[in-house]
C-alpha cells in the first residue's frame, strides 16, 4: 500500500511543472512518450529524468482536458507509436502557466535572495 501512495505523492508534487514541461516540449512538434522523456533529458543537460509513472498519467490527463491530442503514427525507426500534439487551447494554457511560473520565480527569488537584515 505504502508504495503506491508514495508514488502518487511524487506525481502530485511534480504535477504543475510536469504538465508545463510536456506542453513546452510538444511546442517543438509532435512527439511520442519516449521522445518527450529524451527531449527533457537532453534539454536539462541529463539532469531531469521524468518518471514514466508520472508521464503517462499526465499525458492522458492532458488529453482529457483537450490540451493535447494523440494519434498512432509510424516513427522514424519505422515503428508504430502514439504521437502527442499540442492543441490551440493547450498553447493558451501553456502561455498562462508560463506567466504564472515567471511570477512565482520572481517572487520566490525576491524572498530567497534577500539578505537578512539585523
Amino acid at each position: 500500500m505504502m508504495g503506491r501512495n508514495g508514488y502518487r505523492n511524487r506525481v502530485e508534487l511534480l504535477q504543475g511543472t510536469l504538465d508545463m514541461l510536456i506542453l513546452r516540449t510538444l511546442q517543438w512538434g509532435p512527439a511520442h512518450g519516449y521522445g518527450i522523456v529524451q527531449a527533457l533529458r537532453t534539454q536539462s543537460g541529463e539532469a531531469l529524468q521524468v518518471e514514466t509513472g508520472s508521464l503517462y498519467p499526465a499525458l492522458h490527463r492532458l488529453e482529457r482536458q483537450g490540451w493535447v491530442r494523440s494519434e498512432w503514427k509510424q516513427s522514424e525507426a519505422n515503428q508504430r507509436a502514439r504521437y502527442y500534439r499540442i492543441t490551440a487551447t493547450g498553447k493558451k494554457q501553456l502561455a498562462q502557466d508560463l506567466s504564472r511560473w515567471e511570477q512565482m520565480v520572481a517572487v520566490m527569488g525576491g524572498i530567497l535572495k534577500s539578505t537578512p537584515t539585523e
Binding site: G35, Y56, R61, S75, Q79
Partner: protein, 900 residues
C-alpha cells in the same frame, strides 16, 4: 462501453511496449548489448503494471470498471451459494409480486388519469330531498335554471345513456351491438375533448340543446370506427343505420374516450353519441312526465365544491316551486354535488383496495425480513472470507460496495421474478377484477407501476444488505481471523436482533391472517344466507333485445313465447323461463313507483314505495324453486285474455301496509293496471329473496307475467324491449348446453346469438363482490405470510442449534435428558411466538378496521377469528421448531465435543 475500455487498455499496453522498444533500440545504438539494454530499460521504466494502474485511474471509466468487477464478483459469489440465492430471490419475489399486482390494480382503478381536460373540475349535480340524492337525474327545466342562475359553474351539460350494448349499428362487417348516449351539444366542449375526425354537434341556443339539422347525426367512438368501418377516413358525412334508423356520421371521437361510460374496461367498448334534441315533454312540470338527464358541470376557477353546492342550494327551493305536486317538490328541494372523479369508484371499494394494498405491503415486509434474516446468517458465515479479502488489500469501501452489489443483484432478480408473479396473480383474478373493478388489462408496465417496482427494489436492497454491509464496514480483521471456525457465530446482540426479526414476522403474519380469517368468515356467512331460491344447475343467458325489429308486432307472441317453447324442447332441459333480470344479476333494474291518488296518509306512504319491477314467465317458479308465502304464482292460465294479475313479495307487503299485518290481506288488491281497463289483482305473495346483493335484505318487489303483457300495456316497452334474461334448469353440463342454447337464440333472432352466458352459481358468487376477491387475494397473501413466517422460525432455530452444538453436546455428556435439550430449543421458539402473537394481536386489532366495510356477519374485532388464527400460528410455529429441537436432542456428545 467495456469494449471501448478494453481497447484503450490495449492501446496503453502498446504505448508502453513501444516506449521500451525505443529505449532499447537507443541504448543498443549507443553500444550496449541487447541483454544489458533490456535490463536497463526495464529498470528505468519502473513498474509497468503500476504505471498502467495509475494511468487507468486518470480515466473516467475507472469507476465503471470497478462496477463491472463488483458485478462479476457478486455474480460468482451468488452462483457459488445458489441454494441461498434462490431462497432469497424467491422469498422476496413473493412479496414484490403481491405488492406489484395490487399496486397495478390500485393504479388502474384509482390513479389512472381521465382523458378529459382538468377532470378535477367536473362535478355531477343531483337533486336531493326527502329521499336523499336522486340517482335517476333531473329534468331539463331544472338543469336550465341552474345554468342561468349559477355563477359557480362555467358550463353545465346533460346527457342520458343506456348502459349495456342495446343498440344495433349496421356496418360493413355486420351488425354491431353498441352502447349509446344522448348528449347535450356542449358536453364535449365542457369535457375539453374534440372529435379526432369531423366535428361535434353544433349548439342551437343558450339552452345547449342541439341544432335541429344535427338531429339525425351521430358521433362514433374510435372502437366502432375501427371495428365496423375499417377506420375509413372518409366516414364523415356518410349515412349509417342504427336500430333501423338512418343517421349521418358527424365525426369520430378520439381513442379511449368513452364518456359517460367509465372504468378501464370501456377502452375498447363500441359506443355512439347521439345529439340530445329537446322535445315537447321536456317542458312538462309534473311527476315522471319529463325525461330525466344526468347533469355534469364544470366549476369556474376559484369556486370550491362546497361553495358551488351552497350556491345551488340557495335557489333550488325556488326552482322546484314550479312543480305542480308538493310531493315532487319535497324530493328535489335540495342539491347534492359529487366530484365526477369520486363517482367513478365507490368509497368502500377504494377502502378495500387500499386495505389489500396494505396487506400486500405487509407480505412484502415479511418477505424482506425473512431475506434479511438469511443474509445475516450468510454474512456471519462469511466473516472470515471478508477478513481475508481485506487483509489482502481490499479497502472497506470495496467490501461494502461488493456486498451492496450482491444485494442489488438479489433484489433485482427478485423484482423481475416478482413481476412475473404479479402478472400471474392478475391473470388468476381476472374474472373477479373484471366484475368488481372493471379492470380488463393484465399487468401494464406503465410509469407508476415501474416506479413502484423500482422503489420496492431499492428498499429491498437497503433492507437486506444494510446490516451485512454495516457489520463489514466495522469488523476488525484480526478478531475475525483469529476466531477461527466459521460457525463460531454471532454474539448475543446479533442473536437477539435476529429473534426480533422473527418476532416481527410473526406479528405481521398474524395481522394478515386475521384479515384473511375475517374475510373467509364473511364469505362463509354470505354463502349461508338463505337466498330464497335454488341456484344449482341453472344456466343464464343475458340477452340484448333488438326490439326495433319487432316494431308493430307483439314481442310476447312473436319472439318470447316461441323461444321459451323451443328451449324447453331441448334435450335435458327441465324448465326454462324468461325474466327481465335474474336475482342478483344486477344487469338491469327497474324501479316501480305509484302514481298516488288523493292526499290521504295511506296514499302519501304508498307514493314513497319504490319497488323492484320484474317481468317474468310462469315457469320461473320451476326454475328457481322459491316458496310462495300466500296465494299462487303465475301459471299457464294467465294469458293475454285472462284476468290481469301481479305477484308481490313479503317486503312489499311490509312497505305497503306499514307493518307486518297478515300478508293474505293484500291478495285481491288492485295495485296497477296492465292497460286500459285491465286492472291487475294481486294473486300471490312471494317469500323474501335476495335481489340486489346477498348482503342486502329483501327489497319490495312487484312482478308481472310476460304472457299477459301486450303492446298496449304501459309496461310493454320497459318489460320486454330492453333487456331479458333466459334462465334454464338442466342437469347437463354448461359446456354442453351452451352451444345448443346459443343456436336456439340465433334461430329466434340472429342478433341474440351474441348473448352472454353464465350460471346462477356464478351470478351469486359475483354478487359477493369485493369480499370474494379480497378473500381469495388475502388467502394467497396470508398463506404466503404463514409459510415465510414458519420458514423464518425454522431457519433461526436451526441456526442456533448448529451454533450451540458443542454446548448441547456438553450438556448431554453431563447427563441432560433428550427432553431437557428439546425444551431448550422449544423455549426459545415459545417466547418468540408469544411475543410475536401478542404484538400481532394488537396490530390486527388496529389493522382490520380497514376491512370493516367488507365484512358481513362478523365483526372486525371478532375474538374467535383472532384466537383461531393465533392458535394456527402457535401450532405451526411449534411444529416448525420441532425439527431443530429434535436435531438438538440427537446431538452426539462425543462428536460434538471432539470438534471443539
Amino acid at each position: 462501453m467495456s469494449w471501448w475500455f478494453e481497447k484503450r487498455k490495449d492501446e496503453l499496453d502498446e504505448e508502453i511496449r513501444v516506449h521500451m522498444a525505443l529505449d532499447i533500440a537507443d541504448r543498443m545504438s549507443r553500444g550496449e548489448s541487447r541483454e544489458q539494454a533490456e535490463t536497463e530499460a526495464a529498470r528505468e521504466f519502473g513498474n509497468a503494471a503500476l504505471v498502467e494502474d495509475v494511468t487507468h485511474e486518470s480515466w473516467r471509466w475507472r469507476r465503471l470498471e470497478r462496477f463491472a468487477n463488483d458485478l462479476r464478483y457478486a455474480l460468482r459469489a451468488l452462483r457459488r451459494s445458489s441454494g441461498f440465492s434462490i431462497t432469497v430471490i424467491a422469498t422476496m419475489a413473493v412479496g414484490v409480486g403481491a405488492t406489484c399486482a395490487m399496486f397495478s390494480v390500485v393504479d388502474g382503478v384509482l390513479l389512472r388519469p381521465l382523458p378529459f381536460k382538468d377532470p378535477g373540475g367536473l362535478v355531477e349535480i343531483h337533486e336531493s330531498g326527502k329521499k336523499g340524492p336522486l340517482s335517476y337525474g333531473s329534468p331539463y327545466l331544472d338543469i336550465d335554471q341552474w345554468r342561468q342562475r349559477s355563477r359557480a359553474f362555467s358550463q353545465i351539460a346533460f346527457y342520458s345513456s343506456n348502459t349495456g350494448r342495446a343498440s344495433f349499428l349496421e356496418g360493413t362487417a355486420g351488425t354491431l351491438h353498441v352502447g349509446s348516449a344522448t348528449v347535450s351539444a356542449n358536453l364535449f366542449d365542457l369535457l375539453g375533448v374534440h372529435p379526432a375526425l369531423g366535428r361535434g354537434f353544433s349548439v342551437r341556443d343558450a339552452g345547449n340543446s342541439v341544432k335541429a339539422d344535427d338531429e339525425h347525426s351521430l358521433l362514433l367512438s374510435d372502437a366502432v370506427w375501427r371495428a365496423n368501418y375499417g377506420a375509413d377516413a372518409g366516414i364523415v358525412g356518410k349515412t349509417v343505420v342504427m336500430n333501423g334508423e338512418r343517421f349521418s356520421v358527424l365525426g369520430v371521437m378520439p381513442r379511449g374516450f368513452t364518456f359517460p361510460f367509465a372504468g378501464s374496461n370501456t377502452n375498447g367498448m363500441p359506443l355512439v353519441w347521439k345529439p340530445l334534441v329537446l322535445k315537447d315533454e321536456d317542458v312538462l312540470r309534473s311527476h315522471n312526465a319529463a325525461p330525466y338527464y344526468d347533469a355534469l358541470g364544470r366549476l369556474r376557477p376559484g369556486f370550491t365544491l362546497a361553495a358551488a353546492e351552497a350556491e345551488l342550494k340557495v335557489f333550488q327551493p325556488d326552482v322546484v316551486k314550479s312543480y305542480s305536486e308538493p310531493r315532487d317538490r319535497e324530493i328535489a328541494n335540495s342539491i347534492s354535488l359529487r366530484r365526477y372523479t369520486d363517482s367513478l369508484i365507490d368509497g368502500d371499494v377504494r377502502k378495500a383496495l387500499f386495505a389489500l394494498l396494505g396487506a400486500s405491503a405487509l407480505l412484502w415486509l415479511i418477505a424482506c425480513l425473512n431475506a434479511t434474516s438469511l443474509m445475516w446468517a450468510r454474512a456471519l458465515g462469511r466473516r472470515r472470507e471478508l477478513a481475508v479479502r481485506s487483509a489482502l488489500g481490499a479497502s472497506r469501501w470495496q467490501i461494502v460496495e461488493h456486498l451492496l452489489m450482491e444485494g442489488i443483484l438479489l433484489s433485482g432478480c427478485a423484482s423481475l421474478l416478482g413481476l412475473g408473479l404479479a402478472a400471474g396473480i392478475l391473470k388468476l383474478f381476472q374474472h373477479g377484477l373484471e366484475t368488481q373493478y372493471k379492470i380488463h388489462e393484465s399487468l401494464t408496465l406503465n410509469l407508476p407501476v415501474l416506479g413502484a417496482l423500482l422503489a420496492l427494489t431499492v428498499a429491498g436492497v437497503l433492507l437486506i444488505s444494510a446490516w451485512p454491509t454495516f457489520a463489514a464496514a466495522r469488523a476488525s480483521i484480526d478478531t475475525a481471523l483469529r476466531q477461527g471456525s466459521p460457525q463460531q457465530g454471532m454474539g448475543r446482540a446479533q442473536r437477539r436482533m435476529r429473534a426480533v426479526l422473527v418476532v416481527t414476522e410473526i406479528a405481521l403474519s398474524l395481522t394478515l391472517l386475521v384479515g384473511c380469517g375475517l374475510l373467509l368468515r364473511t364469505i362463509y356467512a354470505l354463502k349461508h344466507v338463505p337466498l330464497g331460491f335454488r341456484t344449482e344447475h341453472i344456466v343464464v343467458a343475458n340477452m340484448t333485445i333488438p326490439s326495433y325489429k319487432f316494431a308493430g308486432r307483439d314481442m310476447t307472441t312473436a319472439l318470447y313465447q316461441p323461444l321459451v317453447d323451443r328451449v324447453k324442447g331441448l334435450p335435458g332441459v327441465e324448465s326454462a323461463t324468461l325474466l327481465t333480470d335474474v336475482p342478483l344479476g344486477n344487469t338491469f333494474r327497474m324501479i316501480f313507483t305509484f302514481s298516488p291518488k288523493g292526499n290521504s296518509a295511506d296514499a302519501i306512504r304508498r307514493a314513497a314505495i319504490e319497488a323492484q319491477f320484474r317481468a317474468v314467465s310462469p315457469e320461473m317458479q320451476q326454475v328457481f324453486g322459491f316458496q310462495m308465502l300466500r296465494g299462487r304464482f303465475f301459471n299457464a292460465g294467465d294469458t293475454q285474455t285472462s284476468q290481469a294479475v301481479v305477484v308481490v313479495n313479503r317486503a312489499f307487503v311490509r312497505a305497503y301496509f306499514g307493518d307486518d299485518r297478515d300478508p293474505s290481506k293484500i291478495l285481491g288488491e288492485n295495485l296497477v293496471s296492465l292497460g286500459k281497463d285491465r286492472r291487475a289483482l294481486v294473486v300471490g305473495v312471494l317469500d323474501d329473496e335476495r335481489q340486489v346483493s346477498v348482503a342486502q335484505s329483501s327489497l319490495p318487489e312487484i312482478e308481472v307475467c310476460i304472457p299477459q303483457i301486450t303492446p298496449e300495456s304501459m309496461f310493454y316497452k320497459v318489460a320486454e324491449g330492453m333487456s331479458m334474461d333466459l334462465a334454464v334448469r338442466s342437469q347437463r353440463s354448461i359446456s354442453l348446453i351452451t352451444p345448443e342454447l346459443r343456436e336456439a337464440l340465433r334461430t329466434a333472432s340472429p342478433d341474440l346469438s351474441a348473448s352472454t352466458f353464465s350460471t346462477m352459481d356464478q351470478v351469486v358468487e359475483d354478487s359477493f363482490g369485493s369480499q370474494n376477491l379480497a378473500a381469495h387475494l388475502l388467502e394467497i397473501f396470508g398463506g404466503s405470510a404463514l409459510l415465510l413466517c414458519l420458514a423464518g422460525i425454522y431457519g433461526l432455530l436451526s441456526y442456533l442449534v448448529a451454533q450451540r452444538r458443542q454446548e448441547i453436546g456438553l450438556r448431554i455428556a453431563l447427563g441432560a435428558q433428550q427432553w431437557n435439550v428439546m425444551s431448550l430449543v422449544l423455549r426459545q421458539a415459545g417466547w418468540m411466538l408469544v411475543a410475536g402473537l401478542g404484538i400481532g394481536l394488537g396490530m390486527a386489532y388496529l389493522g382490520t378496521r380497514a376491512l370493516r366495510t367488507l365484512l358481513y356477519g362478523v365483526k372486525a374485532d371478532d375474538p374467535w377469528t383472532a384466537g383461531a388464527v393465533a392458535l394456527v400460528l402457535l401450532v405451526g410455529g411449534l411444529a416448525a421448531s420441532l425439527v431443530p429441537a429434535r436435531r438438538a436432542a440427537r446431538v452426539d456428545p462425543a462428536e460434538a465435543l471432539r470438534a471443539e
